[in-house]
Symmetry: C2
Subunit: 333 residues, 2 copies
């Protein structure tokens, strides 16, 4: 049984391209003592992984060329030499882009509950937890406040907006197509959605923000951040979650004008976070989101590519804003 792998062939100097990846095939590895062999069922890709390909500029360790591309998988255990993990268990694990991987037992997380296994890469995985802790711990939403979220139809944004609605906020999404905007308002209950690629974006955005923004959940940085900054209410909070506008480039733009002057004038707090710091509270976040998902108040979105070989295309298209919800690559059933 061969193990197909997708390797980083070269680090991108500017925009990521299919040529930055190459596929090879090896033997399936065997689990040693205390290890498990995991069969990849599905992978997810996220914009933050592009930051990893910028090397030391990112929080993620820089992948080297010639290594298997990193990524989180949901997998089935096919062989176990570790206590407490059985063949057939469902786990999430850092397998990267390949069919099989061997992991130490402590590197995998057993997941439970029914439904689509891919949800463990989305709403119950890093995306959902990022949305949950960023919104509630940093954003501190209160009923009646206005929340704006960028990349609102994205893997984190669509969860942020729906949770803010659940606690009574007025929610405005910023997304990259009219179709995504319709999805946000018609299917997910957002109060307004604005297409940042529209020629009238500035005016539409100003109008959608009403008398100002209490919480801006920033997945993009760049011009959308600059626009939100000018509309923050006194004592507003900017949750800095991601910088998708700056990942797929060799030359990050300067920061928005008005930093730090506008922060002072409006007493605004701007705070970055990484979800990994909340690891001890993941159970709390997952339990709350599972309750909302099962009661139908929170709809997890995902879009899908089929086949390991599609992973590079799925990633490149994601960086161009192609995804709706969590992007899933189905690798095996």
């Amino acid at each position: 049984m061969p193990n197909r792998r997708i390797l980083i062939e070269s680090l991108p100097q500017d925009r990521l391209a299919p040529e930055n990846f190459a596929m090879d095939t090896t033997d399936v590895p065997e689990a040693g003592a205390g290890e498990v062999l995991c069969r990849t069922l599905a992978l997810t890709v996220g914009a933050g992984q592009r930051a990893g390909l910028q090397g030391s500029a990112s929080y993620a360790a820089a992948p080297e060329s010639g290594r298997v591309m990193n990524g989180t998988a949901v997998a089935r255990v096919e062989e176990s030499r570790a206590d407490g993990i059985a063949v057939g268990d469902l786990v999430t694990c850092p397998s990267g882009w390949q069919d099989y991987a061997v992991h130490a037992a402590k590197a995998v997380n057993r997941v439970e509950g029914g439904g689509d296994p891919a949800h463990h890469l989305g709403v119950y995985g890093t995306n959902g937890l990022t949305a949950y802790f960023g919104l509630f711990d940093l954003g501190e939403p209160k009923a009646g406040q206005t929340l704006v979220v960028s990349a609102a139809a994205g893997s984190v944004g669509h969860i942020v907006g729906q949770m803010a609605k659940i606690v009574g906020c007025r929610v405005v999404g910023v997304a990259g197509s009219d179709e995504k905007c319709r999805l946000l308002t018609e299917d997910l209950g957002f109060d307004a959605a604005v297409n940042y690629r529209d020629a009238n974006f500035r005016g539409s955005f100003r109008e959608a923000c009403g008398d100002g923004i209490d919480i801006y959940f920033d997945n993009t940085g760049g011009e959308i951040l600059g626009g939100a900054l000018r509309r923050m209410k006194p004592h507003g909070r900017i949750v800095c979650c991601g910088v998708v506008s700056q990942y797929d480039t060799g030359n990050p733009a300067p920061g928005p004008r008005g930093i730090p002057g506008l922060l002072v004038n409006n007493r605004v707090r701007m705070e970055g976070f990484l979800v990994f710091d909340y690891a001890s509270r993941y159970g709390e976040g997952r339990a709350q989101m599972r309750e909302w998902v099962e009661s139908g108040r929170l709809k997890p979105l995902q879009d899908e590519f089929h086949g390991l070989e599609e992973a590079p295309n799925a990633f490149i298209d994601l960086l161009a804003g192609g995804n709706t919800g969590t992007r899933i690559i189905r690798v095996a059933d």
Copy 2:
């Protein structure tokens, strides 16, 4: 008895100049019912007032041309038609740049305690309170942490640095001359001080910051903020207090590179504040600082100009970085 006044003759388009001000003389006004007549003893000027002259871009209401230049005074009450305020009382009040002003009783604050009345414009006034609440409420200093403060020999900075030393921080000041740097390390107990006008500033700054910055108290914005941002430790705090690098210009610079990416990677919190929001806690701040001043642990610095007519020069020179500590203009004894 004439009342000399300094008026805003025109709003500056670029750098502030003496021609933006004009002096005239009127009669001393009389106090009406519920009012007091205040004789200005001393005025202070601060860089934040320059922001006011930029009009709507600032938190301060825009002064109009033809009006008395705004500013805080310490004054002696010469006539009182208000309950609870007696002739001879010492007060702080928003008299602006003039010898006399009439105020409603609620617009003046009686001050007590011996010592130089000008201290009520410095360590016990807005400067000291800004340092106190910015440092302790936003900066959250802990013993052993590294604090960096810009405009460190300035009206707020020299108090921030000394208070951070009192609670056990390692303190690095950034200032605009070697003389100021010597003052910080030799007289005020700073652990290190770096001259931002020095050709080797980048290297000296990096060295002074050691293994990184826990708290950056920012009075300047601009390049010093950019440099500090790159050296923040995980979970560091940036206290956004002022933007002196951007006040005296018609064309504020873009924000520093790395916003918001560096905030995310290092989980940094960046927060603006205005001291006026802490009005209900001024007593707490003043009592603590008075204890430190009287025990000799906190040395308030001020530098002085003599004569109301010197106010424009004192202000223009301050914007060029000329001051050490709180800038005082003595108007009468």
